[in-house]
Symmetry: C2
């Protein structure tokens, strides 16, 4: 049974804190196994990749079969229906247009002391995208990871996607093609992460690895972090819907169930000012749930983590939302922009009744890789910035060094770093000699 | 002896790769100890903090003595000389001015389909800054961490700085005051990180923790990551100086030694097109080294990790620089801007002979918290962005949903997520009924 709370109840705070602190993910400790796999790939390269792929994916591949050939990609993508192709192309174009606006600008200015300062953005040289195989192989995730990298200007983009027992998802390859990725390897798991981080004879190493994956992939990303950059380690997905009484309960029920059908660990929360709506949505969920193809998954999620909270007013809803810091926040209210101003922590906000989260998952344009498990308090969804880095720049004239150098010398002395100060003083001494001479 | 290489030598590539892959940090495995400390602070709160502070810092403090009082801060900061105060104030103002330009703008636009899209930046609510105690207590680092947080708009800013055996650095407290931080606790180590991440009765938890620290602090930051955000885990510092033959060898020697005096694990590298300059700088280093107060530290760094490479031309220098991806890059050449364009991976670039790295450590304005150990390939120095997060926003009109919703339905079906599609279709059905009726 989902939790039903009312903020007027005396024990509300305790129940709310329970919900906030519930651990939804029971991730197995796979660190040791993963450490072994990474060491194996580092030590034996392609041979290890072939053996591990045979073991985990039931695929016997020689080193030169690890990569999809152009012919294979063409043959697979040709299987996609015109309708699916058009839908994916529309999604790709909208995602590209949104992310193109994220490109930051270089800055450069000269201050009154004569110091020319600024910074410069540049793309990482090579990025690797992990794509899960089997049921969780989402072509939309390929677009959401690869397109920001392309927009950032990453020169080399690699995809690793396992093909357990030879099963290939043509839409994943088509999504890669739409994003302009041609270097695609049929490997998965921790071995794929290790190969991208350290390289093998066949696979050159990359500088940054992104993309979702199971517990082994997540552990491998954590372990190679530092050697390469990684995106976030995503937890189970979640949605918070805030609704006023005049909203359509069926629409809200579908939205809650769309989140629940992802994963038994997903969480769907409704906060409403209207007890009648709360009951109507609960009824609609119960009515719709058994009809879903993924009723078992969605049912487990709703039973274990589903939550409905009745609050006094929207200000209280915003305060609770800020404590939840949801990955997805739907504001089905008369003034969603006004309410959004009060909701400080959220990965993505969907404004108004005609913006169901599902459009954000695919086609609206913003990224669907978003911070989970309250991390929207301090982090952001995937963006072009994840594939860029900033180099700060400074150039001092002799006059600028004369103006601000002495303060550096003073501070260096206070920190006991004499050579720091001397590196400035040596220059200033030469300048003074020149003036004197 | 520092390594001397010449790119014309047959075995150059092997030696260069050796240098690149040398592990400079021999960090003890303190994970288990740190796990225990974190669990202790989570379980016993202030009591654990008092006990651990007595054990590690030789300080007996009750819970209400953990925080510096206003009177204590005033008394300590009054000890600072007028000259040091002026130097620190100049640094603070220049750092503030530089970082103020980093504030990103919110975006909002409506596309031809009627979708209003954009994003919004907001500050993390509370940030904690760790400041090492004892010898490595650098007031400049307080400014470099706290000012970007202030510029970002972080409401609550906390500093933890241990005071082993009661030793307080007045400049650290003054730097905090200049940055507007009043909540300062005299605790350190993994226990301080745990307190900031999980909170105690006395110390409310924060959302993001930044700042340098020893192996225990670094391990603790890694372990609390996810619960809170963290900045990078910095390794030993490094500088790469690229110089043409007409440069002053003494200035370059001071720059190399300024890096070396930080830490025996620091690394200083000179790449030059001129063998004569290479020898002159090596000679200058040997001459200056014994005169340094920190000769032992700088000597060990120069002996173990110092490197001088003679190359054919500046293009080759740039290519090697990109493989090193240095934290600090000094370009002491006639056309530093031209060479900088070829150097893609660096935390900070110092252009021209009058911009020694030491001014960047203190007063030029850019941040001195920078990516080490080749991580400039994929990451950036500390900035205002580290204290902000981005929420993406979308609002669809009914017309926009009718235009792009069907593609989402199609893609949801291809991924087997029926409720996703239905959440869109339920709305489209209502729209169609309205049109029909």
């Amino acid at each position: 049974m989902p939790v039903k709370l009312n903020s007027r109840d005396a024990d509300f705070e305790a129940h709310f804190v329970d919900m906030l602190s519930a651990k939804r993910e029971d991730s197995a400790d796979v660190n040791e196994v993963v450490t072994g796999i990474i060491a194996d790939v580092r030590g034996r390269g392609d041979t290890a990749l072939s053996e591990l792929t045979a073991k985990f994916d039931g695929m016997d591949l020689t080193a030169d079969q690890l990569r999809f050939s152009k012919q294979e990609i063409a043959a697979e993508t040709a299987k996609v229906s015109a309708e699916d192709r058009a839908a994916l192309a529309l999604a790709a174009e909208r995602i590209r247009a949104y992310h193109a606006r994220q490109m930051p600008e270089d800055m450069n200015w000269t201050d009154p002391d004569g110091a020319t300062l600024g910074w410069r953005w540049s793309a990482v040289s090579a990025a690797g995208l992990y794509v899960p195989g089997g049921q969780a192989a989402y072509p939309s995730s390929v677009l959401m990871n690869a397109i920001p990298a392309r927009v950032a200007g990453v020169e080399r983009l690699v995809i690793c996607v396992p093909t357990p027992n030879g099963i290939v998802n043509p839409l994943v390859l088509l999504a890669a093609q739409l994003a302009g990725v041609e270097e695609i390897y049929r490997i998965g798991g921790a071995q794929a992460i290790a190969a991208m981080a350290y390289g093998t004879d066949t696979i050159a190493p990359v500088d940054k690895i992104t993309g979702p994956g199971n517990a082994y992939v997540a552990a491998a990303k954590r372990q190679v972090f530092g050697r390469v950059g990684i995106d976030m380690i995503a937890g189970p997905s979640e949605v918070l819907v805030i609704a006023e009484g005049d909203q359509n309960p069926d629409w809200l029920a579908w939205d809650l169930l769309a989140q629940a059908e992802h994963d038994a660990d997903a969480q769907s929360i409704l906060i409403t000012t209207d007890e009648g709506l709360a009951n109507a949505v609960a009824g609609a969920v119960d009515r719709i749930l058994p009809t879903l193809p993924r009723a078992q998954i969605a049912g487990a999620s709703w039973r274990d983590y589903g939550t409905i909270i009745v609050v006094r007013d929207l200000d209280e809803a915003a305060r609770l939302s800020n404590r939840i810091a949801p990955e997805h926040l739907e504001l089905c209210v008369d003034d969603p922009e006004g309410l959004a101003k009060k909701c400080r922590h959220a990965g993505a906000i969907f404004l108004g009744a005609y913006t169901p989260e599902a459009v954000g998952d695919y086609v609206s344009g913003p990224n669907h890789v978003l911070p989970t498990a309250r991390s929207a308090r301090f982090s952001s969804g995937l963006s072009v910035l994840d594939f860029l880095k900033r180099t700060t720049m400074a150039r001092l004239t002799p006059g600028a060094l004369a103006a601000i150098g002495p303060a550096a010398v003073r501070l260096a002395a206070s920190e006991g770093l004499q050579a720091h100060g001397a590196s400035v003083n040596a220059r200033l001494a030469t300048l003074n000699e020149r003036e004197a001479g």
